[in-house]
């Protein structure tokens, strides 16, 4: 049984209340930015499923986001009567299917080879979508209209007011809950054993290659769902999603927040999001600040911001031990 401490419950409720109240207290720009950040954070959670839990650092995860974004965009435009939740699910299954194939290809690769292999595969997706005239070539698939979602009790027009914001909030919370269950269950423990020592895990009977494929394809599925959720919000799906630079976004969030904690990417995403928002008008400075922050984190705090807590705890504990002896 998982114990949830009172303080984390309080933090969770406070964050939830703030997210629900945001459209009432902040301007449209901030609300839009917040919704985008939620999507990016779940995208980063899915990346950390591979990295923090299974020990695979993909530098091409954006390809799955792009697959989902294009799939979602095309389905919303060509089959408007299709339920949007079904569109998200279909995009997710496409991501899962591609993830299974790619996962099979990369299952034995590691280190720099894995990094370059994932870059090469993502680049193939990038070249494919940016040269397909059906998908709008370099300009992207544009003019995607936010759909109307039939919720059973009534219809929710996502192009109205803050409806899309709340829809994104709902979907990202649901996906996060599913991921949380996954990594705190038996599968999560097996994945973690691979991250810590894949040889020993293999020796203890864990099907390492199989779980690597599973982790890779589930991460692809979540990323694709986020892409499909994102494209109608932005009203465009562009090849940039599959580009190397976009794929580094989740890496950034995770490293900044801490890879060993489930919530690390969220903390990193919020800090990174605020940095980007505050520096958005200064061309160039945002990269300088981001790059600098990331460098300081990697060189000085390789466990991320949430890692500081465990470092402090560790220091305090060894301090106490010192006193009693």
């Amino acid at each position: 049984m998982m114990r949830i401490s009172l303080s984390s419950l309080a933090i969770g409720l406070a964050v939830l209340a703030l997210m629900l109240a945001l459209p009432a207290i902040a301007n449209q720009g901030v609300v839009f930015f917040a919704a985008v950040t939620y999507i990016y954070i779940v995208f980063a959670f899915s990346w950390n499923l591979m990295f923090g839990y299974t020990g695979m650092a993909s530098f091409g995860h954006g390809a799955f986001f792009a697959i989902g974004a294009y799939c979602g965009g095309v389905l919303v435009m060509k089959l408007p009567e299709l339920h949007f939740l079904l569109v998200l699910l279909l995009a997710g299954f496409l991501g899962l299917a591609v993830g299974l194939v790619v996962g099979f290809v990369v299952r034995k690769s590691s280190g720099v080879y894995f990094a370059i292999l994932t870059i090469a595969l993502a680049q193939l997706v990038f070249l494919f979508v940016s040269s397909s005239s059906y998908l709008g070539r370099d300009d992207g698939y544009s003019g995607i209209m936010p759909p109307v979602v039939n919720l059973g009790v009534g219809k929710l027009d996502l192009s109205n007011g803050n409806n899309y914001y709340y829809f994104i909030l709902g979907i990202t919370i649901l996906t996060t809950a599913a991921l949380w269950r996954l990594v705190h269950g038996p599968i999560g423990r097996r994945l973690r054993s691979i991250q810590q020592d894949s040889q020993r895990a293999e020796f203890l009977g864990v099907n390492v290659a199989g779980y690597r494929i599973l982790s890779f394809s589930l991460a692809g599925m979540v990323a694709a769902i986020m892409g499909a959720l994102y494209a109608p919000y932005l009203r465009i799906a562009t090849p940039e999603f599959a580009y190397f630079v976009f794929s580094a976004q989740p890496v950034l969030y995770t490293m900044l927040g801490g890879m060993h904690s489930f919530w690390g990417p969220a903390v990193g995403g919020i800090i990174f999001g605020m940095l980007t928002y505050l520096t958005r008008t200064l061309s160039g400075f945002s990269e300088i600040i981001t790059g600098f922050t990331l460098l300081v984190v990697v060189l000085a705090l390789p466990t991320g911001i949430l890692g500081i807590r465990s470092l402090l705890k560790h220091a305090r504990r060894s301090g106490e031990r010192g006193k009693t002896q």
Partner: protein, 298 residues
């Protein structure tokens, strides 16, 4: 008809040579850091761009139209400036990421890439810039119906010269042999009295300088943008993996093989440039998850 065929084939071969040598010039600096420090430097593309922009600024400062000698001088200056930056980067970054998990070193160099790109945007702006090609290399060499711009011939020649120079340095000089021994076994080299940290610093400096020289030399052939090095660096990563992780000879051959394949596929099969290249890498890495060669040494 057969005349067209041969001219077409000649043009495709020439284009392959131009692409291969551009990729190789770019990849050579990366190969040194990867082969000896075992670090894949994501920032190399941004350093390449800095080299190009420096040459742009020097040429502008000299009055806007440089002849070949002035361009070469500007390239040399940009190489020197990058060497200085390399020394600083080694002290601040590379020295600290040598012995940590490779994930962190990848991420650290990625951070350096972002930082450098931002710096370029702040200093030079985001608009396209261009460096005029020197009057000596304007026009084209026409042989057997194949039109070869002198500037491209110059780029190919530079690539071959870079290869010969590096091969000579690594295999025929004392320093090169020291570098090779450090690449194979740093611990043993240290035990035998080689100053390993100094070799590491030297490698970073030389690699940065090569990035500056490459960017400067290729500057007249492309438009300058802050992200200009990213495309080439993706190609170079591929050539490095297939060529054996820092093996200069392997990287040279892999650049030629992959770029020729890609150029032929795009001109005869009408594929988007890059598709054949990355497909080949994915196939090779699927069948041989650790590349084609053993990957030790240069």
């Amino acid at each position: 008809m057969s005349n067209f065929f041969w001219a077409d084939l000649g043009t495709t071969l020439f284009n392959s040579a131009v692409l291969s040598m551009s990729v190789f010039i770019f990849a050579s600096g990366l190969a040194l850091i990867l082969g000896i420090l075992k670090i894949l430097n994501f920032a190399h593309g941004a350093l390449f761009a800095v080299g190009a922009y420096l040459v742009y600024s020097i040429v502008e400062w000299m009055g806007g139209a440089a002849d070949l000698m002035q361009l070469v001088a500007a390239v040399a200056v940009s190489g020197l400036v990058l060497a200085g930056i390399g020394l600083a980067a080694d002290t601040v970054i590379f020295r600290r990421i040598r012995d940590i998990d490779y994930h962190y070193s990848l991420i650290a160099t990625y951070a350096l890439l972002l930082f450098t790109e931002g710096l370029i945007k702040v200093i030079w702006g985001v608009d396209f810039k261009s460096v005029a090609s020197p009057p000596e290399v304007e026009g084209s060499l026409i042989a057997g119906g194949v039109v070869m711009p002198w500037l491209s011939v110059f780029a190919v020649a530079t690539g071959v010269l870079t290869f010969i120079g590096l091969e000579y340095m690594l295999n025929r000089t004392n320093l090169g042999k020291l570098m090779q021994s450090v690449a194979v076994d740093p611990w043993m080299s240290n035990a035998l009295g080689i100053n390993v940290p100094r070799i590491y610093t030297l490698i970073v400096v030389v690699s940065f300088a090569l990035a500056g020289v490459a960017g400067g030399l290729l500057a007249p052939t492309t438009a300058l943008t802050p992200g200009m090095g990213i495309g080439l660096s993706l190609y170079a990563f591929g050539a490095l993996v297939v060529g054996g992780m820092g093996n200069i000879r392997g990287t040279f051959l892999a650049s030629i093989a992959l770029c020729t394949l890609d150029t032929f596929a795009s001109s005869y099969l009408d594929l988007t440039p890059g598709i054949a290249f990355f497909l080949a890498i994915a196939l090779i890495l699927t069948m041989r998850p650790t590349g084609l060669t053993r990957g030790v040494g240069l």
